[in-house]
Amino acid sequence: MTFVKSLAAKPWIWSFLGALLVWLATISFTGGYGGGGMVTAALSLAVFTVIVGVGQMFVITLGPGNVDLSLPANIGLASAVAMKVMDGSDSMIVVGLLAALACGAAIGAVNYLLIWALRIPPIIATLSASFIIQSIDISYGRGLQIKPPPGFADFANWQILGIPVLAILTVLFTIGAAIALQRMIYGRSVLAIGQNIRAAWLAGVNVGRTRFLTYTLSGVLGGIDGALLAGYFRGANVDIGNEYLLASIAVVVIGGTSVAGGKANVPGVWGAALFLVLLLTMLNTFGVSAGVRLLLTGLIIVGVITVAGGEKASR
């Protein structure tokens, strides 16, 4: 009983519960058919949301007003950079990944530069940066779909016993992120800044460096995500990251991270990403039209934020 209680007190449990319910609803609709395949597909797709979701989580945790809206454009450009550098050759995979990573890091650093040097609110800075990035992407990639090297595409789709290898690696990465958040100076600094930036400064936290690292980290994760997406979907294009604008923010919020900052939750990002992917699968299985699907997704996100916000107000 105490175990159940302590579990119920964890904010991330609800996102996993939601994912489980959606999955059960779907397989009961199909009569149990395709349950395993659905989990495999969900894991494969959730990975991409989790990677950018973790970056977004650190940014949002910096406190009110902090958000990275440049992720979709970042993903698009990084996917093109990675594919161009790899140029269809397996020997260039690592170099291509590093290029995508550098591209993302540069975008993150520029974002923070705009916020810091020009004192632009993050929401405006990252949004305007994303227009610039998108333009670069269009002129750089010329709108063409560039194919990944076969080895990289295979890696991105590789499964062991029905479990995508990328998902396993991403689980390891999120464990690392959770440790960084709770047990490293960097994570503590992010949490402190999110609660009270002035108190954090007065307590000796290096506010500028922490914010810089956080925006850069978000950029790096966007870059890697772009390269992996291009590998998984066998080609880079400008629109490849579009759905990750809302998704990256939604998984952070549904996963139990406070929109007001200072309180973050890594496992919740996984639960929320699975929930969102399974929800889409369920609505597809039910044969709901695309319009209704978007409508329901939007309503669910609004609902979750309302419930989460309501709890906070009553405290």
């Binding site: 440790i179 047990r183 100076i185 600094s189 949490l191 609660q195 108190a199 007065l202 307590a203 000796g204």
Partner: protein
């Protein structure tokens, strides 16, 4: 001379508590018609609380309010206004988005009908002209656009305008604080005329000369009590300062400090306030406790923050030779991390030392918290409880633990004892002296004069500058008051 007139208002045994703080401790106070009563005392002596009671904004916890011989049971602001009692509070109260005329209308519901704006404008313009001839303020000016001095002029003039309610007693709480000498003189002359015509006034001012020259009778408050009441002519400046003070209990601490004082230790901080024009600067050596005194908001906090910033980034005029930590006075906005436990709140300043490899060791963090729980007496069953489970005083202790538990050799204290109970204060004073004896340097801004007794050296601030630099031996309450309230200084 005092006329044997009837009381306008009389308070018998008024008491007020804020939590454990006794702001007023059985005060008898009265004003008769046609007199100006001067009210003096330190910050926190209870003057403002007493005036809030007279104006009806605060209800006494005990005692009686009698207006013109009738005991008032349901005394309130509305009732006070009906009875002709008004107040100009220290905090300026004009609505910044409204014009002067519109602001005047707020106090005069009788101005109704078409053309109320004109009526209000005429009312306030006439009164401004009467009090401050050639004032240069238009009734159509928006309050927020006026300088603070002009806002104060409007505020005062507005209190003296009359429509429906009578006007017998006006409380002036620091009415000249934002006025220059000329307009202050005009105001005080008007107050004399008002009193001569049979009105009454209560004048609160830190400029003792104003009170001595303009009041008929002076009431001195200290620690929530009236300690002296006498005709103004019976006081002079020195007697007033001595009565406000309280020079008894400080001797033993003084001796203790003098004994502990190291001879010639290295200089840790050398700082000159940004607005300092002469060569005065603040110098703090290892093991010293340096007090920053003066009225609130005269540049003490600014200097502490400048020193704090200079510890990480070069700043002209400030040298800092060791790590710095700051103990915030405004806990909620400058100190507390509300989502965190007590232990995390203490550990944040020392994260680098709590590491084991790359990771923060929960065990070391718990040890640090436990050590300070014992040492400073934080009253909680469990240091992993949320910081808000503590009382205000204990939250403040946690902030002290954060600073003292760190590697900082210089500790800046930004009036940290605001609103803290006396028991906690005494514990922390001992701790500060103990840590100073071990070689730490403290820069201590305080608005409570008794706390300066813990200091080796006191710098008195006025208008962002150091105006006096008192060593331990020279440190007397009178000197601090004279420098910081100084009309002559």
């Amino acid at each position: 001379m005092l006329k044997a007139n009837t009381d306008i208002i009389r308070l018998n045994g008024a008491e007020k508590h804020f939590g454990a703080v006794r702001a007023l401790n059985g005060v008898d106070f009265h004003v008769v018609s046609g007199e100006c009563v001067g009210l003096v005392g330190h910050n926190g002596a209870g003057k403002s609380t007493l005036m809030h009671m007279v104006a009806g904004t605060l209800r006494p916890d005990g005692g009686q309010i009698v207006v013109r011989g009738n005991a008032e049971i349901d005394y309130s602001v509305a009732r006070a206004l009906k009875l002709g009692i008004r107040c100009v509070f220290q905090e300026l109260s004009l609505c910044p988005n409204l014009s002067i005329a519109e602001n005047t209308r707020i106090n005069h519901p009788a101005l109704t009908g078409l053309g109320w704006r004109r009526k209000a404008a005429n009312l306030i313009a006439a009164k401004l002209e009467e009090i401050f001839p050639h004032h240069g303020i238009s009734a159509d000016d928006i309050a927020g656009d006026l300088s603070i001095g002009r806002r104060q002029m409007v505020e005062v003039a507005r209190a003296f305008t009359v429509t429906r309610d009578p006007l017998d007693l006006v409380i002036l709480d620091e009415p000249t604080s934002s006025l220059d000498a000329h307009t202050a003189g005009q105001l005080l002359a008007f107050v004399r005329r008002f009193v001569a015509a049979g009105g009454s006034c209560i004048l609160i001012s830190h400029v003792l000369g104003e009170v001595l020259q303009n009041a008929d009778r002076i009431v001195v408050m200290r620690d929530g009590k009236v300690v002296a009441t006498d005709a103004a002519k019976a006081f002079d400046r020195d007697r007033l300062v001595a009565t406000m003070g309280g020079a008894e209990a400080r001797e033993k601490i003084a001796a203790e400090i003098a004994a502990a004082r190291p001879a010639d230790s290295p200089i840790r901080v050398r700082a000159r306030p940004a607005r300092q024009e002469d060569g005065r600067e603040l110098v703090a050596r290892a093991g010293e406790i340096i007090g920053l005194a003066g009225l609130a908001g005269h540049g003490q906090t600014d200097l502490l923050l400048a020193i704090f910033a200079a510890a990480t980034r070069r700043k002209t005029g400030i040298e800092v030779a060791a790590p710095v930590a700051l103990v915030a006075g405004d806990r909620q906005s400058d100190g507390i991390f509300p989502q965190w436990s007590i232990a995390e709140n203490i550990g944040i300043r020392s994260l680098a030392r709590l590491r084991n490899g790359l990771l923060i060791s929960p065990q070391r963090e718990a040890e640090l918290a436990e050590f300070w729980k014992q040492k400073i007496g934080i009253r909680t069953p469990d240091m992993t409880n949320n910081i808000f489970s503590l009382s205000g005083g204990n939250q403040q202790k946690a902030l002290f633990a954060r600073a003292l538990g760190s590697d900082a050799e210089i500790v800046l204290m930004d009036d940290p004892m605001r609103g803290v109970d006396i028991g906690t204060k005494l514990e922390v004073y001992d701790l500060v002296r103990e840590e100073a004896a071990k070689g730490r340097t403290f820069l201590w801004y305080t608005t409570e004069t008794e706390e300066l007794d813990n200091c080796d050296h006191v710098h008195v601030f006025k208008n962002g500058r150091i105006v006096a630099n008192l060593t331990r031996d020279e440190l007397t309450e009178e000197k601090i008051i004279q420098s910081s309230f100084g009309d002559a200084a």
